[in-house]
Each structure stands twice: as C-alpha cells, then as structure tokens.
C-alpha cells in the first residue's frame, strides 16, 4: 500500500497535530512547534486491556530497551545517547481507559545546536526504530537472559507500588471499583500473569505487535518537510500490511453494561504500616468523552477538587484542617471520577461526610460565580500550559485520537468557556458514588 502524499508545509499550523500519512495501520502525525530546542519522536502501539496480553505488553518494551542490532546492550544504547548530546529514550506501557498503550519516546537537541555531526536529525530516529524493530535474537527468539532479568524486574516494579502511598490509594480505589472490568487491571499486570509468560510466547506476541497493532507515530519540534518525508519512507519499511484494529470503545454501549451499574456502595479497607491514612472515593460519571456533557464534567471536577478555589480544598483543608492534600481527578476514557486525601484515621467518617456534602451541594445548585469563573479560568490556563511541553502536546493529541474527539487546544478552551453553572449542575446529577477505599495503619 502506498502512503499518502505529505501535506504542503504552508498549511501546517503551529501547535496543531497534522496527520501526514497513513498506511498499513500506521499513522504519522507532525506537530510543528518552533519555540523548543529539541525534537521528539514518539511511537504508540495500541491494544485493548486484557488479562491475556497485559503482562506481555509490559514485558516487550522492557526487553527491547535492553539492546538492539546496532547497540546490543543497554550500555551500548546509553553510550549512543550520550554521543547524541545527552538524548533521552524511554519506553513502557500506559493505561488509557481500557486501552493498553505501549510507548517509545526519544528526545534530542535540534540539529542547529550540533556542529560536529552530519545529519544529526536522523540519528535519534534510527536509534528508536532499531530498538523497536531489531531486537537481540538468540535461537530465533528474544535473548533468554534479557527476558529472565526483565521478568524479575517487572515483578519488583509491581511489588513496589506500595512504596508511594498517595498514588497507591488512587490506583487501588479504581481497581476495587472496576474489579470485574478490564479497567481494574493494573498497567503492568500482576505477578501470577507474569509467571505464565514464556520466552517463545513473548516473542510471538512481539511479532504480532510489530506486524499488526495500530501504530501512531508523533514528531514534534521544528522539522522541515523533506525530513518528514525521510521519516515516512523509513517507516514504510517497518510493516508490509497491518490487520488488528482496536475496537472503538466510544459507541456508548459499554458504559451501560450491567457490571458498571452501582447497586450498593462498596467499602474497602486495607491495612498497612502508615502514619497517615489515605481516603479515596470513586464515582461513576456516566459521561462519555464524546458527549456534550463531557465539557461541563471537566468544570464540575475543577469546582469540586481541581484547585485551591475548589470546594474540597476550602472545606476539608482550609475550614476543617483535616488534610494537607485533597483533590479530585477525572478518568476521561472510562468516565470515572476520584477524590483522594491524606487524613488521621479518626477523621475518616467526618471527612467522608464533608466530601459527600460538597457533591450534594453542587447537585442542589450551590455553585458561586467565583467558583465557576475560577474553575473555567484555571482549566483554560491548564490547557495553555500543555502547549509549552512537547510530551504533553503529544499526549494531548494522541488522547484526542484515541477518544475520537477532535479538539485542538483552542476548540477545547472555547467549549470550556461556554459551560454555564446550570450545565455543571445538570451533569453533577449523573454522578454516582461507587466505592470508598481506606488505607489505614495496622490494627485499627
């Protein structure tokens, strides 16, 4: 299949993602941003979250970064990055709703700062492609030593989740809430699933990813059109055809599935040796990112717990003095909302009570002009700030594509600007409490 012809340079808009071409289930996007000193290249392979593939997906990038054809050890890759003026390389997996994304990312300074290397721009691209497509092979599969070590390393990564109690209390609440849904699966899988992965099944899975999984490639920075053309030509070599298509989750049906319905609020308490207890409350918003209600939902989240002006910060921290930190956050793809804070164990019921009162207060129409305006301005500021970071720009547009929403920074800001107090009150009525998760010290 022949790739599309590249778009003309003069229609490329600063800070907008332009799809340059698509072929064999690969799409290439370029985001021109001339103010940065670096260019970035990101690869995203997309899968749906499932128990069968989660561990393998997590292991593949871990094994790939151990070495490739031109740079067969991790040390060789690092030496290469040092030669490329301290370029960075990173890879891993991330959960976006019920998608499981395998990402590879590299960043290097722009060619104009380099005097002693010809065609500097090509080097990081060649390196990342080599890492992804030419792993170190032994007996027709991945090098055994690398797989064994990375399985052990991944096991430790899963175990060390408990080290960061703030994040742990967020993730565990989501997991308890979505126990019987794919979303309840941890990004890096679990230890029993990891044990079952054999070296041969891992390599087979890797081949399947490279040959068939939907792939989105993003380039950001100041890159002339002929260099983009060169990137495209080189990507054509990766894959001759591609089959697997990820299901479009945003037809609305899966939100209404039986398992998603809240019948009774779940109460989960976990014990650990901690000085400070963590309280998380998980909610179903019943709002899809493709729906009109999604924009008022963003404003709702902000008024509730998005900043220092928010009801939760004001009531729980400033008035009651129960917590140092408290905030809410949205899980856009799955339509969830979560509130989390760190408190004294004895204050649990009081904190739950104050938190739920704030939501009821919004539901009954209690939003001040100040809260509404502060929330909207704060969201708009946040959107603008995304534009100052290449990784955030890339992630923003990649998420837009996944959610099949087509907002650029400006259209998103415009839609937020138009959200009225009434819109927020209306959307708040859809929100249901699902799970109360409490992490407390032993023996209490």
């Amino acid at each position: 299949m022949v790739a599309d012809i590249l778009v003309a340079e003069d229609i490329l808009k600063e800070e907008n993602a332009e799809r340059l071409c698509s072929f064999n289930n690969i799409e290439v996007y370029y985001i021109p941003v001339r103010k940065f000193k670096t260019i970035t290249i990101s690869f995203f392979f997309i899968d749906t979250l499932s128990k069968d593939t989660v561990s393998k997906n997590a292991l593949v990038p871990a094994v790939l970064r151990r070495g490739c054809k031109s740079y067969p050890t991790m040390s060789d890759i690092s030496l290469r990055l040092e030669e490329l003026y301290g370029g960075s390389f990173d890879c891993g997996v991330a959960k976006k709703g019920e998608y499981h994304v395998i990402y590879f990312h590299t960043e290097c300074i722009a060619e104009k700062y380099v005097a002693d290397m010809k065609d500097f721009f090509k080097k990081p691209f060649e390196l990342i492609v080599d890492i992804i497509t030419s792993p170190v092979i032994e007996n027709g599969i991945f090098k055994r030593e690398y797989v064994v070590q990375e399985k052990e390393s991944l096991k430790r990564l899963i175990e060390r989740r408990v080290n960061d109690k703030v994040q742990y209390a967020i993730e565990r609440c989501f997991e308890e809430m979505c126990k019987d849904e794919p979303f309840g699966i941890y990004d890096y899988g679990d230890i029993s699933g990891l044990k079952e992965v054999s070296e041969s099944s891992l390599y087979e899975h890797y081949k399947n990813i490279i040959d068939n999984y939907p792939l989105k490639v993003f380039v950001t920075g100041d890159v002339p059109i002929e260099k983009l053309e060169w990137i495209k030509q080189n990507l054509l070599k990766i894959r001759h055809n591609g089959e697997k298509d990820y299901n479009n989750k945003y037809n609305g049906e899966y939100f209404l599935a039986e398992s998603n319905k809240v019948e009774e609020v779940k109460q989960v308490t976990e014990h650990m040796a901690v000085n400070q207890a963590k309280l998380s409350l998980g909610f179903r918003t019943n709002v899809l990112p493709t729906e009109k209600d999604y924009y008022p939902l963003i404003v709702f989240d902000s008024i509730l717990g998005g900043g220092v002006y928010s009801k939760l910060f004001q009531k729980v921290r400033e008035e009651a003095g129960l917590a140092y930190y408290i905030f809410s956050q949205l899980e856009k793809f799955k339509g969830l909302l979560l509130i989390t804070c760190g408190i004294e164990i004895k204050d649990r019921n009081r904190a739950v009570d104050i938190i739920l009162k704030q939501i009821d207060s919004i539901k009954s129409g209690n939003i001040t002009q100040y809260e509404h305006e502060s929330a909207i301005k704060s969201i708009e500021t946040g959107i603008s700030f995304l534009k100052d970071n290449q990784l955030k720009i890339t992630d923003y547009y990649f998420s837009q594509i996944l959610a099949t929403t087509n907002d650029n920074f400006q259209t998103l800001a415009d839609k937020i600007e138009r959200v009225s107090i009434e819109d927020v009150i209306n959307v708040s009525k859809k929100i249901e409490l699902d799970t109360i998760y409490f992490l407390a010290s032993n023996g209490q």
């Binding site: 670096t38 040092e82 070590q149 390393s153 990564l157 080290n163 040796a273 220092v308 603008s384």
Partner: protein
C-alpha cells in the same frame, strides 16, 4: 539600572535590573511560550534557624521548620487568603521551602501585570494572627505525616543525618510535631523582618513578556525599606568526620530503599569555584555509575538495582554531598560494588574518552533544560544565591579538564566520609 546579558550559542537573552532597595530582578524572554512564570525568592531556608539579628545584634535561635511555616502563613492576608485573588485571574500561585531558600511563584497566561502585582504585594505584606498560626499547625502536622510515609524522603534525611554531625542540613525542612508547636506569631514576624528584606531577595521572570514593563512595575511596587546590615547566619562547626556509617529504618516498602553518599570537606567555596566543583562531581558520578557505565550495567544485570537508580551532587557554601539512591534487594552488595569501582578509578584515574563523551552529553542536557521554564527558573535561583549567573553553566564546561577532574575526584570520593541509609520492609 539595567543591563542585558546575551547567550548566542543557544539564542537566549537575559535582562537584569537593580532596584534601589538592593533587590535584583531578571527577565528571560521566551517568545511563543504561553506560560509566564515568575518567582520571588528569599535567601532563607530550613538551615537558617540561628542568626544574629541585624537590628539589635542579638543571637537568635528559632525552632526547626519555621521557614517552611512562614511560607505557609504568608498566603494569609488581612482580607483573607491571597489564593482567591490568583484564582480569580485563573492562575495558580505556589511556594516551596528548601534548605537555603524560600520561593514564591505563580504561572499564568493572561493578565500578567495583575498576577505580578499580587505576588509582589502578598510577599511584602505579612499578616500573622495567633488564631491563624494555631490552625496552620494542624495542616502542617498532616504534611509532616505525609512525608513520614514517604520512604524516599526518609532514606534521604536519614542519610544526611548520618553524614552530618552538627550542620542543620540534617534536619527535616518541615520540622517535627514538637518544633512546630513552639512557633508563634512573634517569631514569624521576627524572621520575616530580617530575611524578607528586599536586599536578601530576588525576582526572576521567564516567558513571553516585555521586560521594560516588568521592571517598571517592580520599581514602583517594591517598598524602599531602610537598609539593614549583613545578616549573619550562624552554623555550628561541622567536624570533617561523618556522624555514622550506617542507618536503617523499617517502613511498609516492598523492596529495600537506599541512599548512600559522600560528604565533602570543602567549605566556603563560592561563585565559579563552587560551580566548577559541582559540575566536575556530576561528570564524575556520570562516568562512575551513569547508564552507560560498567558499574550500572553490572548491578542491573545482577538484579541488584532497577531503573529507579539515580545519583546527584549538591554543593552549597556550607555543605556539599553526593547521593546515590534506588531500590535493591541487597543494598549491602550495591555498596560493595560502588566502593570497588571508586577504589579502582581513584587508582587508575579517569579515561579521556569517557570524560569527553559525558561532558558532551551533560552539555546537551543543559540545552534541553532551556525548554522548561520551571527548570531554568530553579537553576537560576539556586545559582543566584551562590553567586552564579545561569549562562556560566555553559562556559564552565570548557574550563574543566582532566587534571582538575582527577583532583576533585580524590577530594570528594573519600571512603572515610561515606555513609549508607537503608529503609527495610516490615
């Protein structure tokens, strides 16, 4: 008084302005950036609890954690919390306290003048009440509890507590429940009046702004206070030796966490000398145990470390130390391998090729940092209080040669001043 500093190599320009009060302000213009980022910082942090009051020459000793407490309370103004006013403008103010500085900042996209006005106003107008101070104690105790559950933070402070016998850098920035209880309104005012004098402060703005307007606003908004004499910060004498070689604490962690490091015995370095040493030790650490090094790869392959492994070097006038941290099933073995490598390199010296490559890599990373307003700002302020201009970071690389590197290596990597801190699982 105004001047312009250019740095053509990376296309950056910095404007400087000196206010009559002794305060300096700097602007780096970043065309095309949405964010306008401003910090207003004082050269006063958690280690400055003992000093001579320049108003009456009395020696003062304050409770631990007071600089951080003051940072919290400055947001409360007579007419309520200043945060509400920033929120109305859609911007987010913030602040943090470190060992030797307290930094107030905001980032905004629009109505920059109004935001700057708020920042200049609230930092210059303390309003402490007994009731407000008492209430803040509860919130800060929760903050202390949060840090107590953070194994990385605990490992770090346990290391400093092992490296240092007397130096207050060993104490937690936020203080502790007991020290916080002692703080009252009068103490806060006393510290404020001394350390928040404009001559002890600096303003730094980075973003797509007009420097003339910024400087005009600063000219009219900074109060022309009476000059005060030099603030004498007192530090107990620190012996060359470390406090203890090993410390362990038990917490809810899956894999043990470690921090180990060397304590420097050089004091009172300033300006370029201090910066040269800082960059030299960073180059050395990178050569010793960076991602491309034999040591890192050996430890990784043997399953003794994972990619949480990291290292750093901090150099200030009154203290300097390196930190090497991460997770390991056997921190003791990591320690042994590090010591072996250090001994080997001390004997053999640094390889020229490694030196050139790592230098190039760190230089490129420095250029990359200029993408981030936050990073530039942090680098600027830490440098400023040490007497270093941010563009000097680039020039210093050319001044470091192999001979100097080997000299610094022998001074810093002294196994008699090496300590290990481990957090074990329960």
């Amino acid at each position: 008084m105004q001047e312009t500093l250019k740095f053509d190599k990376i296309g950056e320009v910095m404007h400087k302005y000196r206010h009559g009060s002794g305060l300096n302000a700097f602007v780096i213009t970043k065309k095309g950036y949405s964010k306008k980022y401003t910090v207003f910082a004082t050269h006063y942090g958690s280690i400055n609890n003992e000093f001579i009051d320049p108003y009456d020459n009395n020696t003062i000793k304050m409770p631990e954690g007071i600089a951080h407490f003051l940072e919290h309370k400055l947001f409360d103004q007579k007419e309520g919390s200043i945060i509400d006013k920033f929120s109305e403008l859609g911007s987010s103010p913030n602040a943090y306290t470190s060992f030797n500085k307290t930094v107030y900042l905001f980032s905004c996209t629009e109505r920059f003048d109004e935001n700057l006005g708020l920042l200049l106003s609230f930092v210059q107008n303390p309003y402490f009440t007994e009731l407000g101070v008492e209430k803040e104690k509860d919130i800060i105790k929760q903050e202390i509890n949060m840090f107590r559950d953070n194994p990385g933070w605990r490992a770090f402070f346990n290391l400093l507590e092992s490296l240092y016998v007397m130096n207050p850098v060993k104490n937690d920035i936020v203080g502790n429940h007991e020290s916080i209880e002692k703080i009252d309104k009068e103490m806060l005012y006393k510290c404020y009046n001394i350390f928040y004098h404009p001559s002890n402060m600096v303003i730094f703005v980075i973003g797509d702004v007009d420097e003339e307007r910024v400087f005009n606003q600063i000219e009219s908004s900074i109060s022309k206070k009476h000059k005060i004499g030099e603030i004498k910060r007192l530090f107990p004498e620190e012996p060359k030796e470390i406090n203890r070689e090993y410390i362990e604490e038990k917490m809810a962690v899956a894999t043990p966490i470690f921090q180990m490091g060397f304590k420097d015995d050089t004091y009172n370095l300033k300006g370029e000398e201090l910066l040269m040493r800082e960059i030299a030790v960073k180059i050395l650490l990178e050569i010793f145990m960076g991602r491309s090094s034999q040591l890192y790869n050996q430890l990784y392959e043997e399953g003794l470390i994972n990619n949480t492994f990291e290292f750093n070097y901090t150099a200030e006038e009154n203290y300097a130390y390196s930190t090497i941290g991460g997770e390991s099933i056997e921190p003791g073995k990591v320690k042994e391998k590090i010591i072996d490598t250090v001994c080997f390199l001390l004997k053999d010296g640094i390889n020229k090729e490694d030196f050139q490559r790592v230098k190039k890599s760190l230089y490129g990373k420095l250029i990359r940092w200029f993408n981030s307003q936050e990073k530039v700002s942090e680098m600027f302020i830490s440098g400023y209080f040490k007497g270093i201009n941010i563009f000097d970071y680039f020039n210093i690389y050319d001044k470091i040669n192999l001979e100097y590197l080997n000299h610094v290596m022998k001074g810093h990597f002294n196994l008699d001043r090496f300590a290990v801190s481990v957090i074990q699982g329960i």
